[in-house]
Every structure is written in structure tokens, then in C-alpha cells.
Symmetry: C2
């Protein structure tokens, strides 16, 4: 990381040197390697355009202790993976191929050098898995652990990227994977006593969804190529992010609740907590699945494309001419998705 | 800013809409406008390469309450200007032309919507002055006010950018402007009682250096074009950043203290504080001047280039074959620049 304004003592310079070394290693496995002229350690990183990179997508995501995670249940490596994963998930939602990342790490006094290196290892590990080169950043003291990641991705042409807008009335609303797992994991992590009430396998599956979101980069690009014409990643929650798609496209959305795939373990965790699983599925965030608008004629192609990328695409609803997101409950009643209170059985 | 994970109530959605609107305005005055395909508000911003942008320079800088500034003396607008200014100063030190910026803003509970808008106004104002388009970011709750900025700049060719390395033995060490002003401003802001002991004009000049650093973007590019072959911006302090130049180039540096221009007011503030002005000049950071290696034959051209950009370039020392940064005091004694204690008169 280029600078060390608040860290001048020698153990801290040593930490910076070790962090830089770990980050430099991400360059080797990255398609961006041939683009880099100046890597980590100078005032700025320098890259040159590569053939086939006619459009650049740039996204920012941040994690702060007490907001996106808690240090008491989130190991440093998971903080690093999750911060980068969330930023890369935004690129996936555009259909972009990942390229580079830039990281700011704010370290409290009680976060030691070993923890910082673990965090950087987590970042670097996920970066290497997706061919992302970490080219720079900044390291400062902060009152609470915080990580901000700027991720840069590419496509051959801007036409190969999709935004949240562009859905048409009648388009299928489709989702990758399953929902509620990250929220169930969060419940288990926040209330460790609940762990005794669920099977260890269930616990592990839910906690992994919360701590290790996997950005669907291949899936996002494949869905755009197969015809998906508006897309968002589910970070805020299925209902909220469907709202972003609907608003950007100037349409409404109807979600059929009984078609939404529920992540393994969600029912057990909800039962143990005395909560309705629907809450976790519709309002729980951080599943980092993709939600997209698919023209009817492209539906089969999109399902096949997702399958080739090891995820399942499910039609969970449709775009309507209304202006709101509604959830159709089993039995036919339809309620607004704006808050989970509406979804509670009466 | 694309996302609002922790902010779902309507006044906060309203804040996000107002922030986006202010940021979108920065696009109008920016040369990057024609490059933008998707601006602020989607999962990621999308840009296309423009002719004449054969190299991209990317830099990250962050400011955190209690570390880089204190809310009690730093108005929100100044926090915004300073965060962006520091990131742009890194681009200036490469000789890059500014292009876009991406911002993460972490807001504590007691930082209200009006303050957030003031901060964004400060960011946007500086962005507009330098033709920078703010294309995206993230807005979350945080325990302390924090801003992280990723700034992206361009040059026609990677050869038109310089790093910290590349100086040769015998090169002149040159600096723009003057030193110690930001540190003197910090003293006045941290110890308001001192203000009675200095003239109001002195106070204002020093405080402006601390709160409103001006990134020397035109100056940086002009110096590279005129022959400067290694450059750094002075954020950590003259001695420390000279150390970065020396280390990257594998050389030593000798600074002649009596040639270093002292910022207006530094002597008065140091006297009022009972401190040696040399401390502020050599060890005080955040002056955001440029420090560069200039071959002897290019010295006149570099001085003239700086003058055309309304700054003065001064030869303050030279690159030597040693491995350390030393300061020659008036009278001839030479001491290491590594700590200000060495510089105190004995």
C-alpha cells in the first residue's frame, strides 16, 4: 500500500512491507498482470489498456466493525474476503470480468500485525481465486476496523454490461441460488446459544454464507451473454434489491414467495429463533445472489448459462406495470415487500 | 452512491438521492464526461477508454476523525475537500491528469444529513475545480467519520508518468512552494488559545494550508514534461517523503535546510508555541507540495514550467550515493532527517 502517514515506527513499516509483498503476489495469477506498469508501493498504480477491455466497471464497497460484521465473530481473514467479495459482487451484477482492486484498511490500536496480515491473506486469497490484482491502497489507524475496497472490472464493450435499468414489462424476474442463508448465519453468529439448537452441518452452511460470500463473476457475465437485460446483486435483501431493479426500470415487480429457493438451514434456524423463515428469505441481506430481468424468449438460455457456471437460475416472479414490489404469498394474498412485518402470518 | 445497505429509512434514502444529485453535477465540468456510460447510482460505474488516455494512474487516500483531522476543528466541507485533495495530490506526484473519483463515506450517528451534504459539497467543489467526475461510492454507518477516496487519473502514455524511483546521483532535489504551513495550522487548530498570540492573517494562512490543501495537478504534469524524473508529494513530511524518493531510487539525499522555503506564518506560530520552526518544516506533514529529482540540465526548464503553473520550484538539495536522508544545517553540520529531535539546536 503506497503510504503510511500514521505509521512510522519500524514494526509498522515492517507490517507494510509484508502487506505489500502479499498483495504483489496477487498480480501473478491475474490477467491484469500484463497491464501493470507501476504496482503497489508508489503514489499511484499505473496500468495501460489491454485489448478486449473496451469498457471499465468500477465499484466501491466498505465493511465496518459493528455495521457489516463484528470482530468477535468474524475472523480477520473473513473480513478481508467479505470486503473484496462484496465489491466483486457488484461487478458480477454488471456482467464484468474482474481486473484490479484497491484497498483502504483502517486499523484500531488493538488490531495487531498478525491480524492485519490474516485480513490481507483473506483479501489476497479471494483475489487470486478470481484473477484480481490488488494494486494499491492505504493503511491508517482508525477507531474501529474498517475496510473499503474499490474493484475495477472490464468487458469487451459497454454493450456487454447491464445496469439495474432495462427490464421490460412481462420479463421474468430470475434469481441465482438460494436466499436467507446469510441472514440465518448472522443470527447464529450473533446468538451463539442458538447453535445448540441446530445441526452442526446446518450451522456451518449458514455461517459460511454469512462469512464467505462468493461473488458470482462467471455467472453474471454468462447471464448477460445469454440475454439477461437488467441485474442487481442481493446485498440489501431480496425485497429491497428487487425494489432497486423495479425503480431503475420504472416498473413494478411481483415475487411469488413459494418459488423463491430457500437456502439450506434457514427453516431450522428460523424455528430455533422463533422467527418466520420468510423474514430471512425476503428481508435478510448479504446473500450476494444475482437477481435479473430475463425476456421470456431468453429464459431457457439463461437457465442453461447459469448451470454451466454451477448455479441454478430460478424464475421467482415477473416485472409488472405497477411501481412497487409485491410478494404473492402461498394462498394468493399479495403484500408489499417493503418491510418484513407485512409478511408475517396473521 | 450506489448502495445504502444500512440506511433504509426514508430521510436516509432522501439523503442518498441528494448526495447522488450533487455528485452527478461534477460530471458536467469533467473531461471524463464523454467516457461515462453508467454514472453514479448503479452497482458500478461504466466508462470507456478515451483517445489520449494511454495510461491510467489510480490512488487511494483516506481520512478518519481523530487521525487525519478532528471534527471539532475541521468543518465537513473541509473534510471532503481534504480527502479528495490528498488523493489527487498522489496523482499530481505521478504527473497524471485527473479523471474520476470514487468515494466511501462512513457516517457516525451524530453526523447529520446537513453535515453529510456539506462534506459532499466540499468534495464536489474541489472535484469541479480540477475537472474530476465523482462516479460512485458507498455510504454506510461507521463509529467515526471516515472518508476513503479512490482517484483515477490519466496520461497519454505510461512514459509520461513518473514514480518515486528513477533519480540519479547528482540530480537536484527540488520542491514546489513552501513547507511547515500545514503543521503550523494544525498547531493552531489543536490549541485554540495560541490564536491570540499570532496575527489573524498568519492564522488564516496556516489554517488554510491545513484545511484546504490544493493538489498541484498542473504543476506535476508540467514538471514531468520539463524533465523531472522521480517525484513524490509531501504528505508525511519533507524528511519522510524525501526518504521515500531516496529509498525507491536506491540513493541518499542531502537537504540544505537554509534553502528550504518556509511557509508564511511558520516562524510566528513556532515562536508562540515555544518550538523550533525547523521541526514544522522538516517533520510536519500535509503540505502537499511536490518533491522531485531534476537532472541538472533540466533545472531551468523545470523552474520555468512550475512558474507557468503559479508555483515556485526551489532547489533544496541533491541526490547522493549514500543510502540516507541528511539535513545540512546552517553552519555546515549535517544530521539525519529521520526524526526532528536531531534537528534541535544544541
Amino acid at each position: 500500500m503506497p503510504k503510511e502517514p500514521q505509521m512510522r515506527s519500524s514494526p509498522e513499516f515492517d507490517l507494510i512491507a509484508r502487506v505489500r509483498e502479499r498483495m504483489r503476489a496477487t498480480l501473478r495469477a491475474s490477467p491484469s498482470a500484463s497491464a501493470v506498469r507501476v504496482g503497489i508501493g508508489d503514489d499511484a498504480a499505473v496500468t495501460v489498456p489491454l485489448p478486449g477491455r473496451g469498457a471499465t466497471a468500477t465499484s466501491v464497497d466498505a465493511l465496518v466493525d459493528g455495521i457489516g460484521f463484528r470482530r468477535r465473530w468474524c475472523p480477520p481473514g473473513a473480513v478481508g474476503r467479505k470486503a473484496l467479495g462484496a465489491a466483486l459482487s457488484d461487478l458480477a451484477a454488471m456482467g464484468a470480468q474482474p481486473g484490479e482492486a484497491y484497498v483502504w484498511l483502517g486499523m484500531p490500536e488493538d488490531f495487531d500485525a498478525e491480524e492485519a496480515l490474516e485480513l490481507c491473506d483473506g483479501l489476497a486469497e479471494l483475489a487470486e481465486r478470481h484473477g484480481v490484482a490488488i494494486l494499491g491502497g492505504d493503511l491508517t489507524r482508525a477507531p474501529a476496523l474498517a475496510v473499503s475496497v474499490t474493484a475495477v472490472g472490464y468487458a469487451a464493450d459497454p454493450e456487454h454490461l447491464v445496469g439495474r435499468d432495462g427490464a421490460l414489462e412481462g420479463d421474468a424476474l430470475c434469481a441465482t441460488g438460494s436466499f436467507g442463508g446469510a441472514a440465518a448465519g448472522l443470527m447464529l453468529l450473533e446468538h451463539p446459544r442458538m447453535e445448540a439448537e441446530v445441526e452442526p452441518l446446518v450451522r456451518d452452511a449458514c455461517v459460511a454464507r454469512q462469512l464467505d460470500p462468493e461473488p458470482l463473476l462467471r455467472g453474471g457475465a454468462a447471464l448477460v451473454a445469454a440475454g439477461a437485460r437488467a441485474m442487481v446483486d442481493v446485498s440489501d435483501g431480496l425485497g429491497a434489491d428487487a425494489g432497486h431493479l423495479a425503480a431503475a426500470s420504472g416498473l413494478g415487480i411481483e415475487i411469488e414467495l413459494d418459488r423463491v429457493p430457500v437456502a439450506p438451514g434457514v427453516a431450522e434456524v428460523a424455528t430455533a429463533a422463533g422467527r418466520d423463515p420468510t423474514e430471512l428469505v425476503v428481508s435478510g441481506g448479504e446473500d450476494y445472489e444475482l437477481l435479473c430481468a430475463v425476456p421470456r424468449l431468453a429464459l431457457a438460455d439463461c437457465v442453461a448459462a447459469a448451470e454451466r457456471c454451477d448455479t441454478r437460475l430460478t424464475e421467482i416472479g415477473r416485472f409488472t406495470d405497477g411501481g412497487s414490489v409485491r410478494v404473492r404469498l402461498p394462498g394468493g394474498r399479495s403484500v408489499p415487500a417493503s418491510g418484513h412485518d407485512h409478511l408475517r402470518p396473521r
